[in-house]
């Protein structure tokens, strides 16, 4: 029975594993790789914001900390990038714990603003840090090493991200289906109700915040070692907002929703960026990023009105009927 509940993970994993066999296009694989990296951070966000119901607009801040920690370990200390990934998770988790201890006394809008502030401060501090190259950031971040140069190929890196993503999905599904996950969903709906049933809500919130920070950090590390260069602007707060949109559209209280929401928004954003080349030259879009934001805003509004639970939970409910 347990095995059956992981069949979808297996199926999705197998289908995605076929992609590099179909195409070797750097652009296509790259799109998938970025989507996968995003999804890891967004699943972390969904655990905190979706399941536990605590808004966060600072997830990109944890990605930044992870990316920089990983890049510092690999370039400044010339250690293995794998140690970088470890350092990324650990540093983000530690910062998450420190920040969470302070900020999680807030709730609702106040917490959203608090986390937003955190994300902005991280980006601002990184811009002032001479050791990590100020605004121009860090370059020549090496790839992870595994059986020679396997991870230096697009297909190799694709499989790495896929494996990490699937592991994150399985661990997250396990979490939400068990005691601590139930406690998080319970405190989402009534904090005092959960508290009076013996749930230490403050600790539970802190733990899931740290977990989401660790996942953000790991995603940051995967990003840094894939692209090879990072700047503070890579992780500015609009990325946090974008991640929240991905989580909300997919369905915040759903691990799958977070993954599919990410794929949907990321795919859409790539399509929009390709739009100017497809349109006749007479039609001009002045600013593609503004246009993209406009489309996202419209989608967000429509989803909130017509399927407030998000795409994935709404679809699965219809299917059950």
């Amino acid at each position: 029975m347990r095995f059956r509940s992981f069949l979808p993970v297996l199926a999705v994993g197998l289908i995605l594993a076929l992609v590099p066999l179909v195409t070797t296009s750097k652009q296509v694989l790259g799109t998938f790789i970025f989507a996968g990296i995003y999804a890891i951070a967004v699943i972390g966000l969904a655990l905190f914001s979706g399941y536990a119901g605590q808004p966060s607009m600072g997830q990109a801040g944890f990605c930044a900390i992870g990316a920089y920690a990983s890049a510092i370990v690999a370039t400044k200390f010339s250690l293995s990038p794998w140690l970088g990934m470890l350092a990324a998770g650990a540093t983000s988790g530690l910062v998450g714990w420190l920040i969470g201890s302070l900020i999680l006394r807030l709730s609702g809008h106040y917490l959203a603003i608090g986390t937003l502030g955190f994300g902005i401060i991280v980006a601002a501090l990184l811009k002032q840090w001479e050791w990590t190259g100020l605004s121009s950031g860090m370059r020549n971040v090496p790839r992870y090493e595994f059986v020679g140069d396997v991870l230096k190929t697009e297909a190799g890196y694709y499989y790495l991200v896929l494996v990490v993503l699937l592991v994150v999905i399985v661990l997250s599904l396990n979490l939400v289906r068990s005691r601590p996950g139930r406690a998080l969903r319970a405190l989402h709906e009534s904090e005092i109700g959960a508290e009076m049933l013996g749930v230490d809500t403050a600790t539970a919130k802190l733990r899931v915040f740290v977990l989401s920070a660790v996942l953000g950090g790991v995603a940051g590390s995967l990003y840094a070692h894939y692209v090879g260069s990072i700047t503070p602007d890579t992780f500015e707060f609009t990325i946090s907002v974008e991640m929240l949109v991905m989580a909300v559209i997919g369905g915040v209280s759903s691990v799958w929703g977070a993954a599919f929401g990410t794929a949907f928004i990321w795919g859409l954003s790539q399509a929009i960026k390709a739009l100017p080349d497809l349109l006749p030259s007479a039609v001009k879009i002045p600013s593609i990023t503004q246009f993209e934001l406009m489309i996202f805003g419209a989608i967000l509004i429509l989803v909130m009105i017509f399927m407030p639970d998000g795409l994935v939970p709404t679809m699965t409910k219809r299917q059950r009927r």
Binding site: R185, A186, S190, G193, L197, T201
Partner: protein
Amino acid sequence: MLLQTQNLTMKFGGIMALKDVTLGFQPGQISAVIGPNGAGKTTFFNACCGVYAPTAGQVIFKQTPLNGKAPHQIAHMGIARTWQNLQIFPQLTLIENVMVGGEMRDHSSGFVTSMLRLPSVASKENVAKVKAKHWLDLVGLGDRAETQAGNLAFGQQRVLEIARAMATSPQLLMLDEPAAGLSSNERDALMAVIRRIRDEGITVLLVEHDMRLVMQLADYVAVLNYGELIAKGPPSEVQSNPDVIKAYLGEDE
């Protein structure tokens, strides 16, 4: 005494919600706190279980003062409660609602062990499920275990809260207006459930408006009026107390 309050006082701004309330409740009994609207009954409950920190005085449970303890710590000590305004988890199924309570004393299924789904986690979960089903059956909701709690009728949500509270294996069960909004059939079923809980050796303390229910159920009654204790004792005695009659019916000027 299982639960005692000593000079319990609760002030909100200039309003004195509770004033020097000193009370004690015997183990194994059904006790009730009654009083007209705004008498401070729910405030008394909230101060007893850590939702409010008393302005003065203290609450003592099993000889231990509860001052400064968070509600979840008090729950772990053996106090469970229900809510007048309901605090169910509507998106969770009935069985999940009850399991949250039942899993209180399970310290082994933490974040990491649950993410890895170690064998101990799965077996603990099955135990919790069976226990939860037992409590749902006891309050007559067993056949709706997989329904989302939000889909229940109001009266059933009240009973669900009792099942959920009982799943924490408390020594003291506090019921905040358990009969409010119930039909007379539901009310009779509720009385049977409360008696059965008492017969299992669990002390029950309830706040209630419904005088008939209190007089039929309670072994001991305390009456509050404007935050002050005006009478306490067996129901028959309290019923004929002139101060109580005055508080309920008003005074002729």
